[in-house]
């Protein structure tokens, strides 16, 4: 029995920040995107909206006479030292009610035509017309996806969008493994096996094939499985497998997963900063293709 990659929730694309001159506000950006003013986005840079502070170091005197005729014994070997340096960043998440609905838009990504339905505080939903599947995109800290009012632009149909709050413009990048240069991307995929049988079916294992060794940094990633035997009302605790950068050949499988009966079992696979893609997942269920026979034997129909 095989289940294919199912619905995807969570943001799947990473972003590159553009710096326009002058910096476009979100509303301006929307207008530009709508009107196709591509030239305004010719300048590409990794950073936007940085405080343009004046350089001061050049004004610093690098040497200075500290003292004259200082007795040798006391010395003037001044060696300022620092043992700890840190940044204390004051940060917050998007406050409630701050994500307004914006117009729907569409893009084609990896050959999949997608329709973006931005419902503000309800979230951002993507319909993949090639698979007829819905997915929910979101950015950590936001309710929805912070790439908004997008369009396709210039050769190659680059996918460009605005930001929920800032003057940034974003581009979807299928090759980047982290979002906005710092966020691990959360992926979640679910798939299930439905059955009307009241006979318990043992699950020997679930095995996943995907881009196992291609992770967003050198830190091992936890690839997690949980499942629900009541259509998602309750879930088991997650069972984690550690993925390692560069390990493309290792088997990723969960074994001895108990048993289930009607209404079936839903599997959920999740990771932060893990797989770029899942090629497929296989579950191995005891006698799954012989359910009716087993059922009838149990009730003595067949001897």
């Amino acid at each position: 029995m095989t289940i294919a990659k199912a619905a995807i929730s969570g943001q799947v694309a990473a972003a590159v920040v553009y710096a326009g001159t002058p910096e476009p506000r979100t509303s301006q950006l929307a207008a530009m995107l709508t009107l196709g003013l591509a030239a305004r986005f010719a300048a590409v840079d990794a950073i936007a909206a940085l405080v343009p502070y004046a350089e001061t170091a050049a004004a610093v005197s690098m040497t200075s006479a500290i003292a004259a005729l200082v007795p040798y014994a006391t010395g003037i070997h001044s060696l300022p030292a620092a043992s700890a340096i840190a940044e204390l960043a004051v940060w917050g998440t998007a406050p409630p009610g701050s994500e307004a609905r914006t117009r729907a838009w569409a893009f084609v990504f990896d050959g999949h035509p997608c329709y973006v339905l931005d419902l503000g505080e309800e979230g951002t939903f993507i319909y993949d017309t090639s698979t007829s599947g819905w997915a929910k995109f979101s950015t950590d800290g936001y309710v929805g996806w912070n790439m908004r009012i997008g369009t396709t632009w210039t050769e190659g149909n680059r996918i460009i969008g605005g930001d929920t709050f800032s003057a940034n413009a974003w581009e979807m990048d299928p090759d980047t493994l982290i979002d906005e240069g710092f966020r691990d991307i959360y992926h979640a995929a679910t798939g299930g096996v439905a059955t009307r049988s009241r006979v318990y079916l043992g699950v020997e294992s679930l095995r996943v094939i995907g881009s196992m060794g291609s992770l967003d940094d050198d830190t091992p990633v936890q690839f997690s499985l949980r499942f629900s035997d009541d259509n998602g009302k309750t879930w088991t605790a997650t069972q984690d497998i550690t993925l390692t950068v560069g390990d493309f050949g290792g088997e990723v499988a969960w074994r001895s997963l108990g048993s289930f009966m009607a209404p079936g079992r839903v599997f959920e696979l999740t990771d932060y900063g893990g797989l770029q893609r899942i090629d497929g997942a296989d579950i191995f269920i005891e006698d799954f293709d012989d359910i009716s026979t087993k059922y009838l034997k149990q009730y003595g129909v067949y001897e």
């Binding site: 170091a57 010395g75 001044s78 940060w91 906005e180 710092f182």
Partner: protein, 718 residues
Amino acid sequence: MSNIIVDGFATYGIGVNSSAVNAALLAGVYSDINASQVSVGQGLPWNTSDTEWWLACTQTFSGGAYAVRRSMPTAISRAFFSMHVAVNALPTSNDQKGVIDFRNASNQIMGQLFIESTGALSFNFGNGSADSSGPVIGAETDYHLEMDIDTASKNFTLQVNGVTVITSTAAAWLHTGNLAQFALSLNSSAGGNSNVYVGSLIVRDTNGSYNNSFPIGDRRVATLLPDVDDAAQGWAVQPLHRFGPGVLALTGSLDGVLGAASAASDLGSGDFTIEGSFRFAALPLAGNKAVLFGKWGETANQRAYQLYLGGPSLENGWLVFRTSTDGTSGTVVEKIQWAWQPTVGQWYHIAVSRNAGNLQLFIDGVQVGLTVTDTDTYHATALERPVLGIQVNGITAVANTFLDGWNDEFRMTVGAARYTANFAPPTDKFPRNGDDPLWADVIWLSGWDSPSISNDTGGFALTGIGTANALTPSDGSYGWQVIDKSAPNDTTFIEASLIPATGLLTLTAVPANTETVTVGTKDGTAAAVYTFKTAIASAFDVLIGASISASVDNLVAAINGGVGAGVTYGTGTTANFDVTAAKQPSSQMQVTANTPGTGGNSIASTETLANGSWASATLTGGLNIPGYSQFGFSHLPRGAVIVDSVTLLSRQWKSDAGATTTTLSFVGGEGGVAAGATRAISGTPTAYFDTIEEDPDTTAGLTPNSILNGLVRVNRAT
């Protein structure tokens, strides 16, 4: 700029009633703490998986207490406070447990925010209180509190999780004045065992146009630590590790390592080399001494040899190698003395070597002092032990003799001299076994890389005394690896030098009449030429003494313009414009450039002596202030969307009495630099905060990306 105080409590260390945490809190941050029971830690007692850092006062006092009290940068009339608060249990009575109090410059409490037994909050202003209409706080729950306190209008507004629960307007406060101080986590025994935990403290003023509205919403403080060096690295890295992963810690007052009591460590009259890398945590005080190594039992008259650094009132603080031929004090001879003040926190390779009756002392591969003829047979004893790091009698440590610091790669070679002239100091572990042609002569070699104290030769066993231990420092060779310590760790750091050049003059005989010594200038232009004379007649004449020592004394006095004008040097001699001189105990003269830096390396030092010479034609060793260092930082928490300020936190000190200032700056991804304050650094490790904020300089804002791609620049200004 509106965020004036930001504290995530993640950089003080962890502990309850911890002297290290308490010291860190008081090092330039909080003006007063309840030292007996301040608690700082990650997570909460009922939620250890919580990643936030919390501060609390966990001891009750009948008279009431607080965890910490802090002064505002300047006293102001209105401020906004944002913080996260949790309690393990609700108090058993009212007005005993509190979140915060607000004080004026006279330390009078203008208002206190109490948590009542019902879970209600009460703002007590001395003449009354304003309370929430019902319970708003429950046990074991994290709340975001945001307060607006206006001491001029005597208004107070409190929001809990975005909902206004107290509004007090123009109340009759008992005490008034500008807000000058505040205290956190109030505790009194009458409230039971309830503890108030405070985290993510942010204090804003009303300046500027951004981030000063009320409420601003839930904000937290992320403490980001360096995780990468930028290309420009001017500051020197001073990790605690030396060669290999381990070092020997000898920082306890009775710490040392004993070798076996045997004749193997007797040096006799033959060749030997005893050496190791040493790093001081502190120099000996007063009449104390720091014994580097020795075999020196005094109570049983088993003295043989010893190298130690004296305190200021012991041997003038000199480094001294002394020996005894019969174990008694009567035959003790201080063979080599050298005036040396090591810099705390730096590794030095120190070696004593005797070759065919010639005894030499080397620091970092450079001979210091003169070669001493030494054919003595050092006292032989199988009763006493060779000891590293302290002096012992038998196995009993002698008080006030410990080397407060660390050692690595200690080696005793008995029967062979390894050094007879200057050499390149070791850059790695000493060779072992067949890689060392003198391996058969090595009786003690310890690299301390094993978790236990051991002799790598396989020879006599070692015994650690006191708290001596082989440890593996958690630092590395990169700047960020030595300063990314969330808890203060002043044994691993980066430093920026400003070192004066020095020169050394050695006389091997009393100078002859009219021989000259030239060093520096009289006035910045004319060379200062000092002429030895049998009878002084003119300025810059120096009287030839009866001995080398006396002649050097006269020359030193002439160079410094010291006592003796008209007697030991010529009248009219002015103090040297460029250098200051001092006599070493070896009767060598050391001159030091008056202006530190590489400029001193061009100060000429020449002579016409028949029996004497300078170590080099110019002074050497002067170092300028290095260029800055920059560091990238770890990522923001995953959910970060808004970033409204960055505060640069550093812990700095200086090595000595010289003046120095430093500046920390936030460097944006596009090269813009926001400079913090230029600060005069003290000799005590102190925490400094520089808040970098978007407001009011520009409408552009900090973003998670600008934090990610930003750098912190560490610059020594003077």
